[in-house]
């Protein structure tokens, strides 16, 4: 029912008002006394060295890619999970589970492959 989503919009309005209201009020009421030292990024008291746009470990990107693969596969399981009970009641639980098990097997193979390749080991 689409009308069920309307209260979500009401809540969104309340949350947005609270969040933006808080920031705006504090920017209006908070006192400002700018100083050069206050504007510099925190680096343990010394003046900053180099650019803050660091080069990061490639592992972060690898984790992101792996996440997308596994998240999509998890989402593919959601419709089955929600209807597995009705499948069982309709008497086709076994055949549907066999198909899902094949999918899960491939997913498991992917996990093993990733593990063997060292994609999940952080410190190498």
């Amino acid at each position: 029912m689409l009308i069920d989503y309307a209260p979500v919009l009401v809540l969104l309005a309340v949350v947005a008002a609270f969040a933006s209201g808080g920031v705006i009020v504090s920017e209006l009421l908070g006192r400002t006394r700018p100083a050069i030292a206050k504007g510099s990024a925190y680096e343990c008291g010394t003046s900053g060295i180099g650019n803050a746009r660091l080069r990061l470990s490639i592992h972060f990107y690898l984790v992101a890619v792996l996440f997308i693969i596994f998240d999509v596969e998890t989402l593919l399981l959601v419709p089955w999970a929600a209807s597995a009970k009705s499948f069982a009641e309709a008497g086709v639980g076994g055949i549907v589970f066999a198909q899902v098990a094949a999918f899960l097997f491939v997913l498991g193979l992917g996990l093993v492959y990733e593990w063997r390749k060292g994609g999940m080991t952080w410190d190498r």
Binding site: V10, G30, A52, D71, T74, W122
Partner: protein, 391 residues
């Protein structure tokens, strides 16, 4: 009499606004109380007194903190992307607060002559997907805040937080899926009610007992998902100062802070709904709504206390341990658990054998894991002694 004149049904829009404002207000108040509880519990554990100056027992401390945050000076670092720097706290706080919309706190609420419907802002047929989507959105605010601050500590903290949150989100979703399998619905209220003894075809056992593996996985994943101890690498003080909110001050910092506590409260509500029967009162099926609400709040409060307790008791993990635990232990365990639960549901066996089967399926896996990775013992906390002997 007033009651004779007023209608029993309020206009739909009025009900929405009342529920949204009351539940959101309760969430913010609960977040404030949790910050106070955090300080009181830490004081109790460390044999201190904690805040006791503002109001009786320091009860007004969160209010005083809030007022202080509003009047504090705003600092925006020189190289910062100003628009993103302002938006990031809101983008972090909003999804955590929005999650509260689908949580079923109690059954039908009747006050006087008014029937306000079920006590939740709304009941979606796809609540689980809604919650999953919003927990995913929280990462955007953190990475935007870290990147836009133009500070090295912020960026490193943000990268760590995002990698950790995405890794544990998989386990979180898979643990929820096992519960969805048992309930046969994506609606949080249906999942809660399927655990009550009055449920049609239900056996009246909480999922905590039917899904012990998913329960434990969910609890560990929710700690990582909210960036809390022992997984708070996004802001671990000895390494990264404040992490992604190093450069933030005043109300913008407060929004990050509130967002974190709201996320904790939402997670506690979710674990209550999924595994502890939600607002189910044991052995009392027709409990009035306020008893149901009290039952729900009591269950959730236990988990909030667990969050505080763990923070002041356990040491922090190492980052590679965190990633190893997430990908090598929790994800395979969650997959095995979903498979076993799926088999039980699909073949129409009694859900009571799920825990037995799940544990039986885990034993060969654990043995294989221990054999193939002797060095992985460091995951369980032998890291220090191993490092000591190596150096």
């Amino acid at each position: 009499m007033m009651d004779d004149i007023l209608p029993a049904e309020l206009p739909l829009f009025a009900v929405w606004v009342i529920k949204a404002v009351v539940i959101f207000g309760s969430l913010i108040s609960a977040a404030g109380i949790t910050t106070l509880a955090e300080r009181k519990v830490s004081a109790w554990i460390q044999y201190r007194i904690g805040p006791n100056r503002v109001g009786p027992f320091g009860l007004l401390q969160p209010l005083a903190d809030g007022v202080k945050f509003i009047f504090k000076e705003e600092l925006v670092p020189d190289g910062a992307n100003r628009l993103m720097f302002r938006l990031a706290p809101m983008i972090t706080a909003a999804p955590a607060m929005m999650c509260i919309a689908v949580i079923p706190f109690a059954g039908e609420v009747v006050i006087g002559n008014y029937n306000l419907g079920n006590l939740s802002i709304t009941d979606l047929s796809v609540s689980v997907l809604y919650v999953g989507a919003l927990t995913g959105l929280g990462i955007y605010g953190i990475i935007l805040g870290g990147w836009s601050s133009n500070s090295k500590f912020s960026l490193m903290g943000a990268m760590r937080a995002s990698a950790q949150m995405v890794s544990y989100e998989l386990t979180l979703l898979l643990a929820i899926l096992s519960v969805v399998l048992l309930a046969g619905s994506l609606d949080l209220r249906a999942i809660a009610e399927s655990q009550a003894s009055s449920a049609e075809g239900g056996i009246g056992v909480w999922n905590m007992f039917l899904q012990p593996v998913a329960f434990v996985l969910f609890i560990i994943a929710m700690f990582a998902e909210t960036n809390r101890h022992p997984f708070d690498f996004a802001e671990c003080e000895p390494e990264l100062v404040g992490g992604f909110h190093t450069e933030y001050s005043s109300m913008k910092f407060a929004l990050f802070f509130l967002g974190e506590y709201c996320a904790i409260i939402v997670m506690c509500c979710l674990v209550t709904t999924f595994f502890l029967g939600g607002y189910d009162v044991p052995f009392w099926d027709s409990a009035p709504w306020f008893i149901q609400l009290a039952s729900f709040v009591a269950k959730a409060a236990c988990f909030i206390f667990l969050f505080l307790w763990v923070r002041w008791t356990l040491p922090r993990f190492r980052y590679d341990q965190l990633m190893g635990l997430g990908w090598k232990v929790m994800l395979p365990l969650a997959l095995v658990n979903v498979t076993v639960t799926g088999a039980v549901v699909s073949f129409g066996w009694s859900p009571l054998i799920t825990p037995v089967l799940a544990v039986a399926a885990l034993i060969p896996g654990v043995i294989l894991f221990a054999r193939s990775n002797p060095g992985e013992a460091s995951l369980t906390g032998h890291a220090l002694s191993e490092e000591g002997s190596a150096s």
